[in-house]
């Protein structure tokens, strides 16, 4: 009788310990997530840092054109090395980025040029694909994105949709939570979005996974107050 009691007790004991551990760990993770979100909303450095390794996610067509417009006015010597990622189905974007990088080289400005690499990634959702089959393709895209992110571990991420950038941003956010790598994530919503954020933009905004989100129309700024409106790129 007595031994049965103690057996029961020890079983309850280990159960309690397990519950305590789970509660403790999830509390810590939750606190860490809130800290990361809080810290991400504040400027990163108080003084001039060195160049930052930068991941540039190219959407396709119009998205890529907008991103290249932004890169054209950025001071590239601050953002190197640069890693370009585009969807595996998109042949044009990386080519356009290469042309831009080559023109930097031709200016014979070694400072600015730095090193740049170009990679392709599986897309989580093609234009017109149903939301249901998107689940399977998203898992594949996530795994591939994780592999690329482990290799790159960027300090800055620039993206402007569509879906290609979401897995990369989610992984970057997890890296921040886990303390693997701190990165500043910037998302510029496409100029085509006037009244509503895109699905990618909305997800990243609601989940607070990006440090700063830019919109290109004042209507969107009033609808999503945490977004920044500083004019149009095109």
């Amino acid at each position: 009788m007595e031994s049965q009691d103690s057996h029961l007790f020890s079983e309850f004991g280990s159960l309690n310990v397990a519950i305590l551990l789970i509660v403790g760990i999830s509390t810590l993770i939750t606190i860490r997530i809130f800290y990361v979100i809080y810290r991400s909303s504040k400027p990163l450095y108080s003084r001039h840092p060195g160049p930052l390794s930068t991941l540039i996610v190219l959407g396709s067509g119009g998205h890529t054109a907008e991103m290249l417009n932004l890169l054209a006015v950025m001071q590239m010597e601050r953002f190197k090395p640069r890693y370009y990622i585009a969807a595996a189905t998109d042949n044009m974007s990386l080519q356009k980025a290469r042309v831009m990088e080559d023109s930097l080289l031709h200016k014979a400005d070694v400072e600015v040029a730095g090193t740049s690499s170009f990679m392709q990634i599986y897309r989580s959702r093609e234009v017109g694909q149903s939301y249901l089959t998107s689940v399977g393709t998203t898992i594949i895209a996530l795994t591939h994105a994780l592999w690329l992110m482990i290799k790159i571990r960027p300090q800055v991420i620039l993206c402007n949709g569509p879906g290609t950038c979401v897995p990369l941003c989610v992984i970057a956010f997890c890296f921040k939570v886990l303390g693997i790598r701190w990165s500043s994530i910037f998302y510029v919503e496409s100029i085509a979005r006037v009244r509503k954020l895109s699905l990618s933009g909305l997800l990243l905004y609601k989940l607070r996974m990006v440090d700063q989100l830019f919109v290109q129309w004042p209507q969107l700024k009033s609808k999503y107050p945490r977004a920044n409106y500083v004019g149009r790129l095109m």
């Binding site: 001039h48 500043s184 496409s190 006037v194």
Partner: protein
Amino acid sequence: MGEADDSSKSKRVVFVTVGTTSFDSLVRAVDTGEVREALFKKGYTHLLIQMGRGSYIPLKHAGGDESLSVDYFTFSSSIAEFLKSASLVISHAGSGSIFESLRLRKPLIVVVNEDLMDNHQSELAEELAERKHLFCARPQTLYDTISAMDSESLVAYQPGDATPVAKFIDRYLGFTDE
């Protein structure tokens, strides 16, 4: 020689572009007798259609003094050249082709494809139409839009500037301009 000059001066091309996919209902809409006639009445002499992967093949016309000349092709790497030489652009609602035409200050009719699943494209075209930078139509209202349009009423688009975004990012990361 004076005659040749005249004819080259009076060549006014309408360039239709559907972009990288297909947009049969647009090609079908420009290929109707009433639209061709309306364009001819407005003083256009040539209709050139970039039809992409579409399956609807428009009728070619030699044209002349009485009617519009019509020609088409599927894809070209020099869309920019066609846009430059056009007097009127009729385009799908993709932002790339919209802003390229606006930058070239071409009178522009954007036709929204209502068959697309995630149809956010009308947002941009409607906003820019409200600001009088272009005309916005659907395939079935293209004829009315062409008949009613007055390209003088359009306001030139002031291109945007990415510098404020770049500056914001710089400041956020602690880069200061000194």
